[in-house]
Symmetry: C2
Subunit: 383 residues, 2 copies
């Protein structure tokens, strides 16, 4: 049910013919109110797709009544014509719902640098609107898939209110957000400032700690909408906790379905002089292709971990570094620790722990290994 | 002939049994003088191997009489014991040559985090010294190979003097230097300051522009030695030009032999507001796995190039960016340019040109594609 689990939302997902294979490619999530509070975070990439440029504008009044999402084309790097396409998409939805285009956000995902087939989208919008129901969440989640092998949905329950979410994304999971589109809905009564701050806190601790391949998309968008339909006021703390749970579950689903990966790797960095140092070290390890290949080869190659750490400006002494793979401390004090033969990396989950012995801060970054299938998907599939 | 092309040098390469497969693994380059001028640059990785820590010390007086190099083990992350091993190696060579250990640099390459078989090295050194001849350059070049498929050597001739060089490295070719060991010799008469400055200039324009997989080694070392045996004084300009030629040729050989690569990619960034901007943009593209996979798949995916550029802090406007693949301008003004179908990426050489339209600076970064074989080599081979 995902985005339609909370009261006050309808959704739909249909095949508009944007994808050549005839799979669902157009989704809608509608907020029926009574509140239309909204917040969003977007890619920090300076090359932003037209739908991101559009949605950044319409979210400024902290209100949305609908989000339309398409797969089959990113509408990125398409110039003024591409922006006009996004605008037209929003206007078409707005006309069908008898609202203003300023209350319609647009999300797109797929190949960069090609125009969308606008005639197919405008033709399909009336059907999309007509099919939107309180049971349509799963259809919407399916319509936004690209190389995802399954739809991603999550739900968390509060005291008289609910948060639901859907996500797509299987590659380019990187900082600042992943190539992912996420829509989160809630029937709680919450102010715009609280929703915005809760969303930034939740995404900062979840999606922003995901770094599958170090690449950052032009289209990443996370939108949260609150309908207030439960009639229950929430306070920031429990709402943010529940929102973080939903974001964490979606993030783990994204990681689990990352293109071609055979291992899910958590990199816990502790003993850092600052949280930023911990993030920098974790991310640098996560992006090191030699480390990622080693995990694919089930080799607990701690030397590559140290070589990666050594390229950062974090505070540490090389001869104070400890590294564990799945609880076996293979590197102690920057040198040889327990025998690497004791480490078993045959399972899908791999835990790497680094202690910088330079302070009290820590964080965890999640990533994947680098495999033949990653290369295959990204050499054969254009995005 | 490489390092023994210049007058005043002898070299040797033998199998000391460090590598389990019995291949050559120990090399020596000796400077017979009359001058013993030397300069060196090392990895900027903060996790430095024992031989780097040693060689950084002994180069401080700008004099060397010999370099001993081993493959089969990096002697990195081996703690004080590993440093003692390097020291002992230098002392053993020094004793055999009846010189001081302070005149002996040490280079190692291979797996990080394991001790070297010191008994084999100390046993082999007398033979190594005995076999060093003015014809031994090729043997030395072969002894330092790891996953290299062939030895790398280059020579440039000046007016009465010669520069020769050898290199190893096939993976971890990255900034600050690649995982590579390079020894350069010359019989020119040149002062220590000039040699140092020439070496920094030449490596800055060549090895430092190489970024095969974004990873940085713990062991990278480039050593230059001048014997003065030609008796010919050189001025800085022609010497630096010839040295740059030798470094460029060796760098291109390294790139051509990079682990598992099927394309050699030059990324020319122009129209940059500063040289640093050009370098940052070129390097960011070179390290983007999605771009690298696209080239492997012969897909001129300029959208991934723009997405990579967008993550940098270089000065540019997204709608002013031009991108060409093999001279076909597939992206003009940040949007769709000439048809991507016109681009042929079936050849090994790929030229990517980016115009930031933000200034007058430019640079070229060289890299490789990301292939099944890269993953295979780095999943199965420990380094």
């Amino acid at each position: 049910m995902s985005v339609t689990k909370a009261l006050g939302f309808t959704a739909a997902g249909i095949a508009a013919g944007i994808k050549e294979n005839g799979n669902p490619d157009l989704g809608l999530v509608r907020n029926l109110g009574p509140d239309h509070t909204a917040a969003a975070v977007f890619t920090s990439n300076r090359v932003k797709a037209a739908p991101v440029l559009w949605s950044e504008q319409v979210i400024k009044d902290h209100k949305l009544q609908a989000v339309i999402l398409n797969s089959g084309g990113a509408n990125a790097c398409t110039g003024p014509d591409g922006f006009a396409d996004t605008h037209q998409t929003a206007e078409t939805v707005a006309a069908g719902l008898e609202i203003g285009a300023i209350d319609v956000a647009v999300c797109s995902t797929g190949l960069i640098g090609t125009r969308l087939p606008m005639n197919k989208i405008t033709e399909a919008v009336p059907t999309l609107i007509q099919q939107a129901t309180p049971e349509g969440g799963a259809d919407a989640a399916r319509a936004i898939m690209t190389t995802d092998t399954h739809p991603k949905q999550a739900v968390a329950h509060g005291d008289g209110w609910v948060i639901g979410g859907m996500a797509k994304g299987a590659g380019m999971l990187a900082p600042g957000l992943a190539t992912m589109l996420v829509v989160i809905t809630t029937d709680a009564v919450i102010g715009a400032d609280d929703l915005d701050s809760a969303l930034r806190t939740a995404t900062g601790a979840t999606f922003d700690r995901l770094d599958s391949d170090g690449c950052m998309s032009t289209n990443d968008t996370v939108i949260a909408m609150a309908s207030g339909a439960s009639g229950v006021d929430v306070s920031w703390q429990p709402f943010t906790a529940a929102l973080t749970t939903v974001c964490h579950e979606l993030a783990q689903q994204l990681l689990g379905d990352a293109e071609g990966a055979s291992h899910q790797i958590s990199i816990n960095v502790r003993g850092a002089a600052s949280e930023q140092d911990a993030i920098t070290v974790g991310r640098t390890i996560a992006r090191n292709n030699l480390f990622k290949c080693a995990v694919f080869g089930q080799d607990p190659n701690w030397g590559r971990v140290l070589a990666a750490i050594g390229t950062t400006d974090a505070i540490f002494e090389p001869d104070h570094l400890d590294v564990s793979f799945n609880k076996i401390k293979v590197c102690i004090g920057g040198s040889i620790g327990e025998p690497r033969e004791l480490v078993d990396l045959s399972g899908r989950a791999v835990e790497v722990e680094v202690d910088l012995h330079a302070g009290e801060h820590e964080t965890t970054i999640w990533t994947n290994d680098l495999t033949y299938d990653y290369v295959k998907e990204n050499a054969e599939y254009s995005s």
